[in-house]
Structure formats: structure tokens, C-alpha cells
């Protein structure tokens, strides 16, 4: 599903060059649930942004579902993001003047799906995350956990090949975090490939594989016994 080879990325800050990723190699198969762990500054968010085509690598190869991702123009990147990827962010990133349903329907709008169909589908995914009754509420009327569930529904609505979650529980208390992780596990159970960036041990152990990142290199890549989040809910 994902294959990256010798990925490098550095940022220039004034006269300093900050080498963030120093040659990353890894593979992830279909249906995996992978946690990328590391302390802040380890390069985990940068890696995720490159995987998500939100940012570009300086060198290295990246293949997604058999498609080599390189020489991206903005328009091409946008099309790939729309087709291949779903995003879940730490700060939810819902559009605050659109209600839950419209937020979920937005990626479908960029797929040029007709309005009616779009709304039906968005409603289906909202129902899956248990927020059907909240469909017409604005994000400001939802709790943190509800907002993240809307964001997950939005990420899933486009039926992506890969779901990328950047600290999905970072802004939530532990009970709500487990609820969100329970949802992510269920989506994974249905066969979806998911990458989760986190710095929390317990969240990482709810995945099936943990990649440890330190100072821009992978220091450890291990399969773990998955802890079911439903046990805590």
C-alpha cells in the first residue's frame, strides 16, 4: 500500500538548516493500523505531512497504492489527496460556518458528486460515527469528541485508500480519546489502512504496529498486541 525509500526533508530557518527526516524507509500493507511514535521534534508530523501530500520531500521515493508520487503540481496533489487520502487532525479543522453534514460532504463536493447523493452519503457516514442527530449542528455546538468524530466521518466519506490521523486524540481527555480510538479500530477492522501519529503510549498500543522515530530516523519498528479501546469505554 505504502512504500517509502530513503526519504529526506530539511527546513531552512534563516541561516540554519534543520534536517528533520534523515532517510526514512518503510512499507505498510493493506489493512494495517500503524502508529508513528516519537517525542516532539522527532519528525513524525513532517513524515505524515509528506505522506499526505500536504508537504513535499526533498529526496526519496514514495509510492502509494502502486502510484509513484512525485513531481506534484498543486492541482495534481489536490486530485491525489481527494482520491487517495483522508485526514484527521489534532485540532479537528472543521469549517466553522458549515454544519456537521456539510463538513462531511465537502470532500465529495470536490469529487463533483451531485448534491443529493453527496448529502445521503455524508449522512450515512455521520450515522456510522453515531452523530446522525447532530447532522445540522455547527461545530461550535459540538463537544471535542463529537468534532473529532465528524472529522473522521469527513475523512472516510471520500472512501480513501489511506486514512492519516495526526494526533487525533491530542486535544481530547482520555475517555473521549478511547472513544475516538475505538472508532478508528472499527474502521480498521472493516479493512481500511490507517496511519496514526501520536506521542501517547496507550494510544500507540491500540494500533497493530508501532514505528518509533527519533531525530529523523526510524529507531524501532515493532508489531504489537493490539489493546482494544472498547475495553475502556
Amino acid at each position: 500500500m505504502i512504500e517509502i525509500k530513503d526519504l529526506h526533508k530539511s527546513y531552512t530557518m534563516g541561516s540554519n538548516v534543520l534536517h528533520v527526516l534523515k532517510g526514512i524507509n518503510f512499507k505498510a500493507e493493506d489493512g494495517e493500523l500503524v502508529a508513528i511514535m516519537g517525542s516532539s521534534g522527532s519528525g513524525k508530523s513532517t513524515l505524515l505531512n509528506i505522506l499526505g501530500m500536504l508537504d513535499e520531500a526533498d529526496s526519496g521515493e514514495y509510492t502509494l497504492d502502486g502510484v509513484p508520487i512525485r513531481d506534484l503540481t498543486e492541482t495534481k496533489a489536490a486530485k491525489y489527496r481527494n482520491k487517495f487520502l483522508g485526514f484527521v487532525f489534532q485540532s479537528f479543522n472543521l469549517i466553522n460556518y458549515k454544519n456537521a453534514l456539510e463538513n462531511v460532504a465537502l470532500p465529495l463536493y470536490y469529487q463533483r458528486m451531485p448534491r443529493k447523493e453527496r448529502h445521503d452519503k455524508a449522512m450515512k457516514y455521520l450515522e456510522q460515527v453515531g452523530l446522525k442527530e447532530w447532522a445540522h449542528h455547527l461545530p461550535s455546538e459540538l463537544s471535542g469528541g463529537q468534532k473529532q468524530r465528524v472529522a473522521i466521518a469527513r475523512a472516510m466519506a471520500a472512501e480513501p485508500k489511506l486514512l492519516l490521523a495526526d494526533e487525533p486524540t491530542g486535544a481530547l481527555d482520555s475517555t473521549t480519546s478511547y472513544e475516538v480510538m475505538d472508532l478508528i479500530q472499527k474502521i480498521n477492522d472493516a479493512g481500511n489502512t490507517i496511519l496514526v501519529v501520536t506521542h501517547e503510549e496507550d494510544i500507540a498500543h491500540m494500533c497493530k504496529r508501532i514505528i518509533h522515530l527519533r531525530d529523523g530516523v526510524i529507531v524501532k519498528d515493532e508489531k504489537v498486541e493490539q489493546v482494544r479501546a472498547s475495553a475502556y469505554v
Binding site: K83, P107, P114
Partner: protein
């Protein structure tokens, strides 16, 4: 880009961001409103000016006799020049291609009486064509005609204020007034934009006046109307030819400019038109300034709008919006708002001008107006430049990396 779905998305955005919509709409509407009002007031000012200075016909020469200051061909200097009927006939014969009409004018001051009321008025002995030179407007009855000239009839056309003075509220038509001992029949009453003084004139056939004055053929003054199509240059040529002709006929030294005098309204016209031109220039300057201010205003708002939406645009890009999507989202919204509010502002402005009508005449603004073409073009310009101004920040926002936009709080 122009699908119904795209518009739905834009309408939704507009509906849900009322403050933003209001701000940009208000700026544009106000800009156009001020433009239309100022432009209308400028036109009103020009109207007032034209009314003050251009009330008489402008294609007219007035010839007044004077006294020579140089001896010539055996005539001594300081000789009084007089015009007579043959001058009229000669000019008519010699200058048919320039001449529109010609009329003598013999002015006298007379005591005029009707029953118990009497007063002193200026009477002018004139030909029928004199009506065009003074733009005399007949209120009732008729003006003098050729038959009056031929029969030397004792008919008069009196000013509106003469009738008011002598007849009060009674009708003067067909009544006889006493002018210097003879009875004249009132055949018409006129009004004149030239003001009260001109509405106290009395016109009679010049032939009648000459008959009263011992059947003389002398005239005071010659009024000549030239064809407007000969233009300013033609009028100047006509004037110098007339001068040459009259100097020759009256034996006046070619360099003697005092034998007679010419008042050339065309000269006046040129000056008036220059002044009107300057007024128009000032109005245009102010108007363009207003439009530029409007464009700057809408540009500022567009920069602000894009800044405010940076994060939202980042989210949209993360969800698959292409740069083209982003630009069209911003631009279509802005074009839609500016067009609607621009035309609303224009309409309010036009209605305002129309409702003012002549109410501001005390401030020298008569009948302010703006032609619809100008108003529409100004509005479209604002919309066009507004979208060009919006395009710059929009394309910048479209190029920004989604990750940078997403970090924007």
C-alpha cells in the same frame, strides 16, 4: 466553475458570513452611490451654468452704429454712422450662405397706458425673425409676422410682466394700449428666460416704428443670426467679411474700429463652453477619484477576506480543492457581491438624483442627472477592478501549502 453546485456553495458561504458580505457589499454600494451622486451634482452645476449664461441664442451678432475716428475719402472724422433699411437688404443679398436670419431693431422708451394704469417701457421695433435671436416664447396670441411688416400695422407683442403691470389679472389679447399717443392692439404675450427686464419689453413692427418717426428708414441696430453649422471658424470669417462690407459701404477707414461695434455671441459661447469644459473636467476628476477609492476599498477587503479564510482554504485544499477551485471560490463570491451591491448602489443613487429634481436649485444645482451608460460603466469598472484586485490575494492563497494554511490560527 459555473455549475449550479458551485453557485450553491457560494450562496451558502455568503449566507453564512453575513458580516463579510455586508462589509464588501457596503463598500461597493457606497462607492457607486457617491459616484453617481457627485456626477449628478456636477451635471446639475453645468445645467445651472448653462441656464444662467446661455439663455439667448448663441449664433447671433449685434451691430451697433458708432462714430468714426479717422477721416476717409473726403469724410471728416467724428462722423455719426447710421444704419438704414438698405443695409439689411444688402446683407441679405450678399451673404446668403452664412445668414440664417436678419432683423433690425429700433429701441425707444415709451410711456404705455391702458385705462388708468401706465408705465415707461422699452419698445423694440423688430422683424419677425427677431424672435429667434432672443428666444422669445409666446405664451398666448402670436408674434409679429411679415404681414404686420408690410402693412405697418399697429400691433404689439408685450412681455408677461407688462401684461401683469397694466392689465392685472385681466386678459390683454385684443385690447388696445396707448403708446406715445397712438393706439396699438395687443396681439401676443411672451415670456423670456432672460429675466424680469426682458419680460418688460414690448415688440412692434420696425416698419410701424419708422412710419411713426416721419417715415424714416434709419435703424438703431442690426441683429444677425448665422447658420449654426458654419461653426466657430465660419462665424469668425462671416464677422470679418461683414465688417469689410459695412466699412466699404459706409466709407469708414479700414483701420477705424469705431465706426460701428459688434457684439459677437459666438465669442461668448466659446468662453462659456470652455468654462463648461473645465466644470466637466473637475466632475470627471472627482468621479474617477471616487471610483479609485472604491477599488482600493474593495481590494483591502479582499486581502482581509483571504487572510481570514486562510485556514478554511487550507482545509479545503487538504480535502481535495485544486488551486483553481480556491481562486474561483473567492473570486466568484466577490464578483457576485460587488455586482449586486454595485447595481443596488447605482439604483439608489439614480433614484436619489431623481427625487432631488430641482430642490437644490438654491445651491446652483439644477436637475442633477447621470446618464445610465456612465453609471453602468462605472459600476462594471468597479466590479472588474475589484475582481482583479481580488485575484492577487486569491491566487496567493491558492499557492500557499495546505500545511502552512492549516497551522494558521
Amino acid at each position: 466553475m459555473f455549475s449550479r453546485d458551485a453557485w450553491n456553495e457560494i450562496f451558502e458561504t455568503i449566507r453564512k458570513n453575513k458580516l463579510r458580505t455586508f462589509l464588501s457589499g457596503f463598500t461597493v454600494a457606497l462607492g457607486i452611490l457617491i459616484f453617481v451622486t457627485l456626477f449628478g451634482f456636477g451635471n446639475g452645476l453645468i445645467n445651472t451654468f448653462n441656464k444662467f449664461f446661455n439663455e439667448d441664442a448663441t449664433n447671433v451678432f449685434y451691430f451697433f452704429p458708432g462714430k468714426t475716428t479717422m477721416p476717409y475719402k473726403g469724410y471728416k472724422s467724428n462722423r455719426q454712422i447710421e444704419f438704414d433699411n438698405t443695409d439689411i437688404a444688402d446683407i441679405q443679398k450678399d451673404f446668403p450662405m452664412f445668414l440664417e436670419y436678419i432683423s433690425p431693431r429700433i429701441s425707444r422708451s415709451n410711456l404705455i397706458r391702458y385705462q388708468a394704469e401706465s408705465n415707461n417701457y422699452t419698445t423694440h421695433g423688430v422683424a419677425p425673425s427677431h424672435q429667434f435671436a432672443e428666444k422669445t416664447v409666446i405664451m398666448k396670441g402670436r408674434y409679429l409676422n411679415l404681414k404686420d411688416m408690410k402693412e405697418k400695422s399697429k400691433h404689439v407683442v408685450i412681455g408677461r410682466l407688462v401684461e401683469q403691470d397694466l392689465f392685472g389679472s385681466r386678459n390683454s389679447l385684443g385690447k388696445y394700449v396707448d403708446i406715445g399717443g397712438s393706439a396699438f392692439k395687443v396681439i401676443g404675450v411672451f415670456q423670456d428666460e432672460g429675466g424680469d427686464r426682458e419680460e418688460r419689453f414690448v415688440y412692434m413692427p420696425y416698419t410701424t416704428r419708422q412710419l411713426i418717426e416721419k417715415n424714416t428708414d434709419k435703424i438703431n441696430m442690426i441683429v444677425i443670426g448665422f447658420k449654426p453649422e458654419i461653426g466657430y471658424a465660419g462665424a469668425m470669417a462671416f464677422e470679418s467679411n461683414l465688417k469689410k462690407f459695412l466699412k466699404g459701404k459706409k466709407f469708414i477707414h479700414p483701420d477705424d474700429e469705431s465706426g460701428f461695434f459688434i457684439r459677437n455671441v459666438a465669442d461668448q459661447l466659446e468662453k462659456n463652453q470652455q468654462f463648461t469644459g473645465v466644470l466637466k473636467l473637475i466632475v470627471a476628476f472627482v468621479a474617477i477619484g471616487t471610483i479609485i477609492a472604491g477599488i482600493i476599498g474593495i481590494s483591502n477587503i479582499m486581502v482581509f477576506v483571504v487572510k481570514e479564510r486562510t485556514k478554511e482554504l487550507g482545509i479545503r485544499k487538504a480535502l481535495g480543492a485544486t488551486p483553481g477551485n480556491v481562486i474561483s471560490t473567492i473570486l466568484l463570491e466577490s464578483v457576485f457581491i460587488t455586482t449586486i451591491s454595485g447595481f443596488v448602489g447605482m439604483l439608489i443613487g439614480i433614484l436619489l438624483l431623481r427625487s432631488l429634481d430641482d430642490r437644490l436649485e438654491d445651491f446652483f444645482i439644477t436637475n442633477p442627472y447621470i446618464d445610465t451608460g456612465t453609471a453602468v460603466i462605472a459600476t462594471l469598472m468597479l466590479v472588474l477592478f475589484g475582481s482583479i484586485a481580488g485575484y492577487v490575494p486569491a491566487s496567493k492563497a491558492a499557492r500557499i501549502k495546505p500545511i502552512v494554511a492549516l497551522r494558521d490560527e
